[in-house]
């Protein structure tokens, strides 16, 4: 786990390159505080900060092959690095280290781009071919690791986090109203977008080749949510799923440092914990977030599972004051407006984990997407089969959809029946599953001055996948969840960016390709789709506390706007002051003031979810604007490479230096 950054900048004075790259790395030092390094040649400058987990003593980066033709900066882990290394050795590839970075490099040399689908891991990488002059950037198939790029004054910049771009001379950030509309409506940027003008993200499963002025962007692996149905019995299917997960957890326990587990108390993290305790030679350490507010708290479930499995359990208790205090820093690391505060406790949890001496954790992310864990999937099925169900059945299924929402209780259910019938036919072509959510998202979009149709780019994206139209409504819902919210929010804002803010790597066993395939083959084959994760529960029946298998799913949530009303942090002034609000160029100040006034004056229980979300969006956008666009010095500090443990510096510039350091 690490961070990488670099640039191709013909006009930059040669002598400036080392200073610029070390400052870029300084901005992302939290991703890899153990050591840093950079490589320069006449065409490219690139560097890495390293969090050493595999090959502790020998994995320094940038790393080259023996002939020093290929150079790699690698952010991530290849969980199948042992198998790949053996295969590459048999093919005659030489190895000098025990790191997975070298496996990635040798795999590239052996197979070229075809190595990428072979990687079972979470990664973003940059590879420089000193002979051809090519620079290649690539990213893992589920989008676990980020990689951003942009053009600036004739230079091409890339980095694991956008804040690194600030180190480049003259670079400035500006919020992009069009992308903000997409973020507000969809809860996340589209896979290749960011909220900032001109900055793109390498799409999930993408590979970008840069040769001179020419760029080639391809997708080396497309997402598949359909798979041939499993042909065995239900018991065999459960065993198949269980074995795939066991193998996945085993691969993700490969580490030269201790691996902990995030234990939320829900089914997914309990399964991961169970398998980790089975496979680990040591007592497993588990880590949780607890809330003072009972409706969000799952500490009882966490304790039951920890006791049952005998883990060494540790939890942090998060209060509203903690969320208010951590919000600004969490937004700084997330680099995107957020629609809820749930990422802040994850930021605090990773600090706790790091303080406990752990720098790698397993988590349950991806399970809900793979095994139909979200209410959204059941909602999709209900609306899609609306006309085939009688009224009693509709009511029964409606009752089970969102038990955590009071207005879905018996007193109001008949009101909701009409609403759901209204959404039983498709009005956003191809987006049937998400229509309720997306239409609600239009409310937040009203915060923006410019608001084109916020779904146009998403519709273009779904049409670009030739298989999408043939998917079932639930498969389309899965596709959208994988492509948008999983990579764009859960794995990044709530996951990767929060954990690496405190130098902790997270690993997701449910996002092993074999597990995803297994899930796709058994989903809807052995249940009717109205019991969440039915096959997963069968797979672990008898191995977890009964309450873990039978209790209704409790979505991970944290208190929202109410926190800021009560705590009144200093930065709330960004919304309460007309002058401050006016500094948010892209926001419609009239509607923003209406919303803020309503939130500040309305009892918490009368604030709707979408109003709450819009308020958190507005506040996080204002904070982001302060940090990245306006008061950069105050929030981001003076650009500095101080504290970098710079161990590897390779300077292969010839032409410009031999010409007397041409400037």
């Amino acid at each position: 786990m690490c961070g990488l950054a670099g640039f191709i900048a013909p006009a930059l004075p040669a002598d400036d390159a080392p200073g610029v790259i070390t400052t870029m790395l300084g901005h992302i030092r939290h991703r890899g505080p153990d050591e840093a390094g950079y490589y320069l040649d006449d065409g490219v400058t690139m560097g890495a900060v390293r969090l050493s987990i595999v090959g502790l003593a020998t994995g320094a980066q940038p790393m080259a092959d023996p002939g020093e033709r290929y150079w790699i900066c690698f952010n991530g882990e290849l969980y199948n690095h042992i198998e790949l290394r053996e295969e590459l050795r048999r093919l005659g590839r030489p190895f000098r280290t025990d790191s997975d970075t070298e496996v990635a490099l040798q795999a590239w040399i052996q197979w070229g781009e075809a190595c990428l689908p072979r990687f079972n891991g979470a990664f973003a990488l940059a590879i420089r071919d000193a002979h051809s002059g090519d620079l290649v950037l690539a990213r893992d198939r589920y989008g676990k690791r980020p990689l951003f790029y942009t053009d600036h004054g004739g230079a091409f910049l890339f980095a694991s986090e956008m804040k690194a771009f600030r180190a480049f001379p003259g670079f400035g950030f500006a919020l992009d109203p069009r992308e903000l509309a997409s973020v507000y409506a969809l809860w996340t940027p589209l896979p290749d977008r960011t909220p900032f003008q001109g900055i793109r993200q390498l799409p999930v499963g993408g590979v970008l080749t840069v040769r001179g002025d020419r760029r080639t962007l391809r997708t080396y692996e497309e997402l598949r949510v359909d798979a041939p149905a499993f042909t065995g019995t239900e018991a065999e299917a459960a065993a198949h799923v269980r074995e795939a997960l066991r193998t996945s957890v085993g691969l993700r326990l490969r580490s030269d440092v201790e691996v902990g587990v995030y234990l939320s108390g829900g089914l997914d993290s309990s399964i991961v914990t169970k398998l980790a305790t089975d496979l680990s030679p040591h007592q497993v350490r588990t880590f949780s977030v607890q809330f003072e507010e009972a409706s969000f708290d799952e500490s009882d479930s966490q304790r039951v599972v920890a006791d049952h499995l005998g883990t060494r359990h540790s939890a942090i208790s998060v209060t509203g004051a903690d969320i208010a205090e951590g919000f600004e820093s969490a937004v700084y690391h997330a680099e995107v407006p957020a629609f809820r505060t749930a990422f802040v406790p994850m930021y605090l949890l990773s600090r706790h984990v790091r303080d406990a001496g752990i720098k790698t954790v397993l988590s349950g992310e991806g399970a809900d997407e793979a095994f139909l864990g979200y209410s959204l999937f059941r909602e999709t099925l209900l609306r899609a089969s609306w006309d085939e169900l009688d009224e009693d059945e509709r009511q029964r299924r409606l009752a089970g959809l969102y038990p955590e929402l009071e207005h879905f209780g018996p007193a109001h259910r008949k009101h909701l029946t009409g609403l759901f019938r209204q959404f039983s036919t498709e009005s956003l072509p191809g987006l049937f599953s998400h229509e309720l959510r997306y239409q609600n998202g239009r409310f937040a979009v009203r915060l923006l001055k410019e608001r084109d149709e916020p779904f146009a780019d998403l519709l273009a994206m779904v049409r670009s996948d030739p298989r999408y139209a043939a998917l079932s409504p639930v498969q389309k819902a899965q596709w959208l969840e994988y492509k948008t919210l999983l990579a764009g929010y859960l794995l990044s804002t709530q996951g990767e960016r929060m954990s690496l803010a405190h130098s902790v790597e997270n690993r997701c066993p449910f996002l092993d390709p074999a597990v995803v395939r297994a899930a796709a083959s058994v989903n809807l084959r052995f249940d009717d789709g109205f019991e969440e994760k039915a096959i997963l529960k069968k797979a672990f029946h008898g191995e977890l506390p009964e309450s873990s298998l039978t209790r209704p799913k409790q979505p991970y949530r944290a208190p929202g706007a109410a926190v800021f009303k009560k705590q009144r942090p200093d930065y709330l002034e960004l919304l309460l002051s007309d002058a401050e609000l006016d500094r948010l160029d892209c926001v419609d100040p009239v509607f923003a003031r209406k919303l803020v006034n309503k939130i500040m004056t309305t009892p918490d229980e009368q604030i709707s979810t979408k109003e709450d979300q819009a308020f958190v969006y507005l506040l996080s956008t204002a904070v982001l604007n302060q940090q990245f666009v306006l008061d950069r010095e105050r929030y981001m500090g003076t650009p500095s490479a101080a504290g970098l443990n710079l161990r590897t510096t390779v300077d292969h510039r010839r032409a410009r230096l031999s010409a007397g350091g041409t400037r």
């Binding site: 008949k414 009409g418 239409q439 009368q606 979810t609 979408k610």
Partner: protein
């Protein structure tokens, strides 16, 4: 303030919207992102309280009040029905 104005005012104040060029009386308020499921229940409660009527289960199952015009027509219909025949099959005036 007449019936229509009362409903319009409630929607405008509660859901931070102004009826005009962008949102009209015929606009589907769900699909315009003005109200969600929580807001819909607030709106129905307002209608029942403000106009002293109870929306029957049959009405709820048979109708979806997606626009200001829909709501207004429904309340008008109930008022007319109750004036004509007292309690009926549709929304019924509250006895309490």
């Amino acid at each position: 303030m007449n019936r229509t104005q009362k409903i319009q005012q409630f929607i405008e104040e509660r859901f931070l919207v102004e009826f005009g060029d962008e949102v009209t009386a015929e606009t589907d308020l769900f699909k315009a992102g003005v109200i969600d499921s929580f807001g819909y229940i607030q709106l129905m409660s307002f209608i029942e309280d403000e106009f002293a009527l109870r929306i029957s289960d049959d009405d709820l199952l048979a109708n979806v009040f997606v626009s200001l015009a829909d709501l207004d027509a429904f309340v008008a219909g109930v008022a007319e029905k109750s004036a004509r025949a007292g309690a009926g099959q549709g929304g019924v005036p509250c006895a309490d």
